[in-house]
Amino acid sequence: MKKQTTSYKAKKRTVNILIHVLLAVLAVIWIFPITWVVMISFRAEKGSYTSSFLPKSFTLDNYKKLFTDTSILNFPKMFMNTLIIAIFVCIISTLFVLAVSYCMSRLRFKMRKKYMNIAMILGLFPGFMSMIAVYYILKAVGLSEGSMVRVALIMVYSAGSGLGFYIAKGFFDTIPKALDEAAFLDGATKFQVFTKVTIPLSKPIIVYTVLTSFLGPWLDFIFAKVICRANADYYTVAIGLWRMLEKEYIDNWYTCFAAGAVCISIPIAILFIYMQRYYVEGLTGAVKG
C-alpha cells in the first residue's frame, strides 16, 4: 500500500516535470520572434539579411534614423497621422457602439430584430469587398486627396462601428433591469437612465471599447493602403512599416523596420495586456448571452 502511493507520487512528479518542460519549450517558441526583432532593432550591420544569426555589434542608430531621417519614409509624420486618426476614431466609435448596444439591450422597438439580423448578414460579406466602392464614394465627395485623406480614414474606420455591438450588448444585458426600473419610478427619462445609471456601471466595457477602437487605425493595413494610394504624406504606421520591407527600401530600412516595430509594439502591448481581462469578461458574457 505504501509502495503504491510512492510510485503514484513519483509518476505525478514526472508528469509535472514533463509538463513544465513542455510549457517552457512552447514559451520559448512563442517569445522567440519577439526577442529576435528587438535584437535586430539594435543591430549595427547594415543591409537586410546577414549571414550570421546573432548581430556582431549593437547600436542605437536605427532608432535615431527612424525618428530623424524623414526624407523618404517619414516615420514621425506617420506616427502623428495615426495618432490623430486614432483619437477621432476612438471618440466617434465609442459613442456609436455604446449608443447602439444600449438600444439593442434595453430599448424595445420595431426595427430592433431586423437591425440585428441585418448586422449579422452584413458581417458575412468580406469586409473590404466594398473597399473599391468606398474609395469612389470618397473621391466623388472630394475626400480622396490632400489632407482630406485623414478625414476619409476617420470616417471609414468609425462609420461601420454601429455593427460591432455584440460584446457591449452582452455586457449591458448583465446589468440588472431593476436598477433601470427604480430610476423610472423616480421620474427619469430613458436618456437619463442611459447616462446616469447604465454608463457609470459599465466602466469595463467602456474601457474595452475605447481601447479597441483606438487600436483599430494602428492595426489596419488594407483600408489605409487603398485610400492613401500614393499619398505618402498621409500614410499610417502600418503601411509605413510594410513599405520598409518592400524591395526598393529593404536594404536601407530593414533594421529601422525592426526599431519601428518595437516602438509601436510596446505601447500597444501594454494596452492589450491591460485590457485582456475586459476582453475575456466581455466574451464570456456574450457567449452566455
Binding site: 512552447l26 520572434p33 426595427m111 449579422m120 458575412l124 460579406f125 442611459f194 509594439s265 485582456q276 457567449v287
Partner: protein, 471 residues
C-alpha cells in the same frame, strides 16, 4: 441570439406590442382632408394642427428632395440602364489651334450616382411614410380632443420614448453610406463588363455595359483560367478554414487546461508569455515571421549556423506550394493559440466540477474526460464563437497577404497563387489586376459560401436544437 430564435411565442407577442392604429394604410383609407393633403404636401397635416416646426421640417425635406431630383437625381437614374455611351473625343479647336477633349460619359460615376440617387429616393419614401403617419396621428388626436405634442414635447420624447431614434440615426447613417451603399455598388458591378481583361483596347475601364450573368458563368465554368483558379482557391479556402479553426481551437483549449491544472506552477507567468505574443500588433508579428522565414531569413541562417543545413541551402517555406500551405497554417497556430487560450480559460472554469468527479469515479482517464466531457461542453457553449471564427478565417486577409502574399504562383498565367484565399484573390483581382467585375463575383460567391456554411452548422448544433442540455 440562440434564445431569441427558440422563442417564437414571445416574438409574436412582441410584434403586437408595437402595433399602432397610425399606419400608412389606415391613413390613406380613413384619413381626413388634412391627412389626404399631406400625401402631396408633406407636413400639411402637422401645420394644420399647429405643429408648425415639425410641419416646416417635413415640408423642407420634400422641397429639398424635389430640388435634388429635378437638378440631378432624375438624370442620374435615367442614365443607369445604359451606363453612358458618349466616348471622350479629341476635337480640333481651330480658333485656339489646339486639340480639346469633349467630356465623355464615365460609367463608374454614372453607376455610383445612380445608386446613390436610388438610396436617397428610398430614404425619402421612408420619410414620406413617416410624415403621413404623423399627419394621420395628429388628425386622430385632434378629433378625439386629446393632447397634441408641441415641438418641445417632441424634442423631449426623443430623449425618452423615442430614444432609439436619436441614438441610432447617426450609426445607421454611417452603415448605410459606408457599408450598404458600397456593397450594393459592388454587387451591381458583378453584372457589368467593368474590367481590364475583357477589353482589348481598355475602353471598358471608362465606359462599360450590363452583361447579365456572364461573369458568374466565367467564374464557375472550368474551361478558362479564372474558373479553374476559382475552384482550386475555393477548395484551399475551405481546407484552410477548417484547419485554421480547429487546430487553434483544440490546441488552444489544451494549452489553457495545461496552464490551469492544479499542479502547474507560475500560472501567471506562462499566461503572460503567450499573451505577450498576441499583444504585439498582428501585422508586425506577421511581417517579422515573413522576414524570418525568407530563403535568407533568420530561421534558415540559424539552421545553417547549427550545421543542420549546408551553406546555400534553405528550406522553401514560401516557395513550394505544400510547404507554403503548411507554413501558413502553422504560423496561424502561433498567432491564434494565445487568443483561444484567453477566451476559453473563463469558460473552462465554468464546467461543473461534478461532471469531472463522476467521470473520475467511473475510472475515466484524461483522454476520455477530454473527449466525453470537456469537448462536448465547450462545443456546446462556444458554437457561436466557433462559427464566427470559421467565417473570420475564410475572410482572413491579413495572415495570407502579409505572410505569403498568396504565392507561390505556379503557372505564370494564373491570377491566384497556391495559398490565395478567396479574399486575397479578390483583392488581387480588383486592386492589382483591375478585373473589377470578376472581383465582385468572387465577393458575392464568398458571401454565398459563408452564408450556407453558417446556416447549416448553426442549425445542426446543440445550442440551436436543445438549449437546455447543459443548463
Amino acid at each position: 441570439m440562440s434564445n431569441e430564435v427558440a422563442e417564437p411565442k414571445k416574438k409574436k407577442s412582441k410584434k403586437t406590442a408595437f402595433d399602432t392604429p397610425y399606419t400608412v394604410k389606415n391613413a390613406i383609407q380613413r384619413g381626413g382632408m388634412t391627412t389626404k393633403l399631406s400625401m402631396p404636401v408633406m407636413g400639411f397635416g402637422n401645420l394644420a394642427h399647429r405643429q408648425i416646426a415639425k410641419g416646416i421640417i417635413f415640408l423642407a425635406v420634400e422641397v429639398a428632395y424635389l430640388w435634388f431630383m429635378i437638378t440631378r437625381g432624375i438624370h442620374c437614374i435615367a442614365m443607369l440602364p445604359s451606363l453612358g455611351w458618349l466616348e471622350q473625343e479629341e476635337v480640333w479647336n481651330e480658333a485656339k489651334g489646339i486639340y480639346e477633349y469633349t467630356a465623355g460619359h464615365n460609367s463608374i460615376i454614372i453607376l455610383l450616382y445612380g445608386v446613390a440617387s436610388i438610396f436617397i429616393t428610398i430614404g425619402f419614401v421612408i420619410m414620406w411614410r413617416g410624415t403621413l403617419k404623423s399627419a394621420y396621428k395628429v388628425e386622430c388626436l385632434a378629433r378625439e380632443g386629446k393632447h397634441i405634442n408641441s415641438f418641445k414635447d417632441d424634442i423631449a420624447d426623443l430623449f425618452d420614448g423615442n430614444l432609439h431614434r436619436s441614438l441610432m440615426t447617426l450609426p445607421i447613417l454611417g452603415i448605410v453610406i459606408f457599408t450598404i451603399l458600397p456593397l450594393v455598388f459592388m454587387i451591381l458591378m458583378a453584372f457589368t463588363n467593368y474590367s481590364k481583361e475583357t477589353s482589348s483596347e481598355a475602353a471598358h475601364l471608362v465606359l462599360f455595359d450590363w452583361v447579365g450573368l456572364k461573369n458568374f458563368g466565367t467564374a464557375l465554368s472550368t474551361d478558362n483560367s479564372i474558373g479553374q483558379n476559382f475552384w482550386s482557391v475555393l477548395g484551399w479556402t475551405i481546407v484552410w478554414a477548417i484547419f485554421a479553426t480547429f487546430t487553434n481551437y483544440i490546441l488552444g483549449m489544451i494549452l489553457a487546461m495545461v496552464i490551469n491544472r492544479k499542479d502547474t506552477k507560475a500560472k501567471g507567468f506562462w499566461r503572460f508569455c503567450f499573451v505577450l505574443s498576441v499583444a504585439v500588433p498582428q501585422f508586425v508579428s506577421l511581417l517579422i515571421m515573413r522576414t524570418m522565414l525568407q530563403p535568407e531569413g533568420a530561421v534558415n541562417i540559424l539552421l545553417r549556423n547549427l550545421g543542420i543545413l549546408e551553406a546555400g541551402q534553405s528550406l522553401p517555406f514560401f516557395t513550394k506550394p505544400i510547404w507554403a500551405r503548411v507554413t501558413v497554417i502553422v504560423i496561424n497556430i502561433w498567432v491564434g493559440i494565445p487568443f483561444t487560450m484567453l477566451q476559453t480559460t473563463g469558460i473552462l472554469k465554468n464546467i461543473p466540477a461534478e461532471l469531472y468527479e463522476s467521470a473520475k469515479v467511473d475510472g475515466a482517464n484524461a483522454f476520455v474526460t477530454f473527449f466525453k466531457i470537456t469537448l462536448p461542453y465547450m462545443l456546446f457553449v462556444t458554437t457561436p464563437y466557433l462559427i464566427t471564427t470559421f467565417t473570420g478565417n475564410i475572410n482572413n486577409f491579413n495572415i495570407i497577404y502579409l505572410l505569403s502574399g498568396g504565392g507561390p504562383t505556379i503557372n505564370p498565367g494564373d491570377t491566384a497563387g497556391k495559398t490565395d484565399l478567396l479574399v486575397t484573390w479578390l483583392y488581387k483581382l480588383t486592386v492589382d489586376k483591375q478585373y473589377y467585375n470578376i472581383g465582385a463575383v468572387i465577393g458575392i460567391l464568398t458571401f454565398v459560401v459563408l452564408a450556407i456554411i453558417s446556416l447549416v452548422t448553426y442549425r445542426n448544433t446543440g445550442s440551436y436544437k436543445n438549449e437546455e442540455e447543459f443548463q
